[in-house]
Amino acid sequence: MLLHEAHGCPIVAVNIWYHVGSKNETPGHTGFAHLFEHLMFEGSQHHDSGFFQPLQAAGASLNGSTNADRTNYWEVVPASALELALWMESDRMGYLLPALTDQKFVNQRDVVLNERRQNYENRPYGLASMAMLATLFPDDHPYHWTTIGEIADLKAARVDEAHEFFRRYYHPANASIALAGDFESDAALSLVRAYFEAIAPGPAVEPVRRDVSLDADRRIFLEDRVELPRLYVAWLTPAMFAPGDAELDLATDLLSHGKTSRLYRRLVYEDRIATDVSASQSSREVSSFVQISATAAPGHSLPELYDAIAEEIAKLAVEGPTDVEIERGRVQAETQFVQRLQTVGGFGGKSDQLNAYNTYLGRPDYFSEDLGRYASVTHESLQTTVKRCLHDARRVALSIVPTGRLDLAMPESAPVVVS
């Protein structure tokens, strides 16, 4: 339970993290954590109708999201509606099941299938993440599947599994609450106690831990309804907050952030072989990955992109970053950290950050140290991390090609099936 007073704007953010995500699912039951998030908006015992209505009527904005590691829920309310938000959040934490019917379950499963069609199946390159995760991580690894889940699993899901899921993961012992905004701490704490203290803790949730490594280069391809082929190259990297994590964030920045970045400059500005290029790290609890993607400009091929990317990575691994790149990375990190402090709520606002630090590290006050991780990256630490982690024989290269144009994929790529 975390409290952060900020009196600049007469609003309060309520933010709750449940330490459960798609990594807690098992093969055959994928997509469940996210589907469950939907059910949390369908009413609870003492308010058995839509979750949005009373909160929106009180002027709240609200949402929730699920990723591999956690599920979060938030409201940003006028300061005078704090109690309402706590009433609603505590009711669904404590008393969801009496209101969780099969009809609601089936309806939300259909909404999720719509979401899947809209955001994955009907979106160009939309299945790339499924293909990449399925290849980076072995079949039984908790990151093998995407948060949205597989269609067959979603269709097979049953309401009694939802009840079981709730009992196991949705209780105080697996949750973290953060309030940020315009309130007095003593009064706010009393309210939280009144609404949440009577909810019984459930069983402790064992952390998911699983070593993973790639021992060779893998090449795969996928056909899609796209005009231009796109290449994705990915590496497994250290877990979130582990040594090397910050270095790789800065490395992906200097590779692809802005026109001055190495890959933009090389692929888009100078050689003009790509229409776009991006690089980022997906930092996760169990294991992270870095992914670079680039779309071939008309008349250019994925092997050209692949070679240029490989060359730039090799150069960074051998020569390391320039002093200017290190300085730039630090200033950009500082700016981004300060920008994140502008909002009390929502995704990425102060209350969300407090819960992230608390959930992953048990250190809600980690903000300054977190910024310190980026400030202390050196030429040498970045170079050695790139050399070690963005290794030239332990990559996955995914080609997405226009339907019927297998000839445009990287040579020796194997077909990959995503459902």
């Binding site: 015992q45 009527a57 109690e83 069609r117 779309t295």
Partner: protein
């Protein structure tokens, strides 16, 4: 309610709504430089950041016929170099002070923003001034950027939402100023020359047509000093020619862009409606909340919550300087396409008369618009964009402070009447991007006539 009793809190009813303190927008201080550039500032000192936003009062609607995309293309060229600096140099200079350049092209305006830690604000603003006032606009950069923009158009062909957006404005506006998206079309981008870009820059980027907005922890005097030093030497060219004009087309009621194998249908339903200057502005904002402007709106409750055929549906009046579109946007399960169309049209039609806005619906809409209003003004960027709207549409200084009282004063009758005045069911045009048989019985029953096939290439 045994659980409720033991918890010591009353779960038999929700806590009552409590009063929300009156929202007051920060004071906007306005000055004008000798060259006519407005400098408007609002103070915000929560964090040591400063955001500048240069608002130019011309956008994609100022593109000449046959040169659709010119405004956006020209703006895209600004950071391709200035003086001795190349595009890479410009990007490097911004990156070294952690400044983020952001560019938005709307129908009526071009917005160029830069945000940085306040200690770097002067350097960031100088650079923005250099690229806005004296961009290099070199031939070789022009060709590279054109190729990128043409490639972007190619990629948009893969995206059903983008296809729908582009085809729909074309259906509603034809060759009139709002008939294309800022990116333009393949043919028009292909025919534009670097001379067109230079001429457009000269006639559009003029201090008398622009306002520099600053939000941050510096005082107005300090901002004016920075503005004078960065933009004081800016002079403008000739004013732009008169706005292009073309009659609005009369599109078919039902239009289909075929997309074989598409699992979802992307729908747009709407018509040309009303301008930002309408006296019905507040009533329409409220009407839209009830109809399709929030999660608990009529169309979303119907199509998502009840029927489960979409992940979400929304409606919007796009308020612009001249009448903009009213549009309902939704992506639905392919099998439910005709159902989604008929239900959407029914909802749009019924709010006018058969099922007028009820007092309780309006109360929910008003609450959503007003009770949380303060949270729209939490960050420098939100504040700067709000001030930009003031500059763009000549809104009174107390517009945001008076918004809540104006909305709260609305009655259900006023809101229903405004909806009735500005929603015309018989004029609604429907566009489907998807794998549907528009000639099927199901579509026949919609009574929208023979569907017009729209080729993606004609967009």
């Amino acid at each position: 309610m045994s659980a409720a009793a033991s918890a010591g809190v009353d779960r038999s009813q929700l806590p009552p709504l409590r009063r929300v303190p009156r929202f007051r927008f920060p004071e906007v201080t306005k000055s004008t430089l000798a060259n006519g550039l407005g400098v408007w500032t609002a103070h915000h000192d929560e964090v040591p950041l400063t955001e500048f936003l240069l608002v130019v009062r011309h956008g994609a609607a100022s593109d000449p016929v046959g040169q659709e995309g010119l405004a956006a293309f020209t703006t895209d060229m600004l950071d391709e170099g200035t003086g001795a600096l190349s595009a890479i140099d410009v990007s490097e200079q911004l990156a070294r002070v952690g400044a983020q350049l952001g560019v938005d092209i709307g129908a009526d305006a071009i917005l160029i923003g830069v945000s940085s830690l306040t200690r770097f604000a002067e350097r960031a603003l100088r650079l923005v001034a250099d690229i806005v006032v004296q961009p290099s606009l070199r031939e070789e950069d022009f060709e590279r950027v054109r190729r990128q923009r043409l490639n972007r158009l190619v990629q948009l062909r893969d995206m059903p939402g983008a296809i729908a957006e582009r085809a729909f404005v074309r259906l509603l506006f034809g060759d009139a100023p709002y008939g294309h998206t800022p990116l333009g079309r393949e043919a028009s981008l292909g025919s534009v020359t670097v001379h067109d870009i230079r001429a457009f820059h000269k006639r559009t980027f003029r201090p008398s047509e622009a306002t520099l907005i600053a939000v941050g922890d510096s005082g107005h005097g300090e901002i004016c000093r920075l503005a004078e030093s960065a933009f004081g030497g800016w002079t403008g060219g000739e004013p732009p020619p008169d706005r292009r004009s073309a009659p609005l087309p009369t599109p078919a009621r039902l239009n289909v862009v075929p997309r074989a194998g598409s699992p979802q249908s992307e729908l747009r339903i709407g018509h040309v409606a009303v301008s930002r200057t309408t006296p019905d502005y507040h009533a329409l904002v409220a009407a839209n909340m009830v109809l399709g402007g929030q999660y608990v709106s009529r169309v979303n409750l119907n199509l998502r919550a009840e029927k489960g055929i979409t992940y979400g549906v929304r409606t919007a009046f796009e308020f612009r300087r001249f009448p903009g579109p009213f549009v309902l946007s939704v992506s639905v399960d392919k099998a439910a396409t005709a159902l989604a169309i008929s239900e959407s049209m029914r909802e749009i039609s019924e709010i006018r008369e058969a099922r007028p806005v009820s007092a309780s619906e309006l109360a929910v809409g008003i609450a959503a618009l007003t009770r949380g209003y303060a949270k729209n003004f939490e960050t420098c960027d939100q504040l700067a964009r709000a001030v930009a709207q003031m500059a763009l549409f000549d809104l009174p200084d107390d517009f945001y402070t008076e918004f809540v009282p104006c909305i709260e004063a609305l009655t259900p009758d006023e809101v229903t009447e405004a909806a009735a005045r500005h929603l015309e069911p018989s004029r609604l045009t429907t566009l489907v991007v998807g794998d549907v048989d528009g000639g099927s019985q199901e579509f026949d029953r919609l009574g929208l006539g023979t569907p017009e096939l729209v080729s993606p290439d004609s967009i």
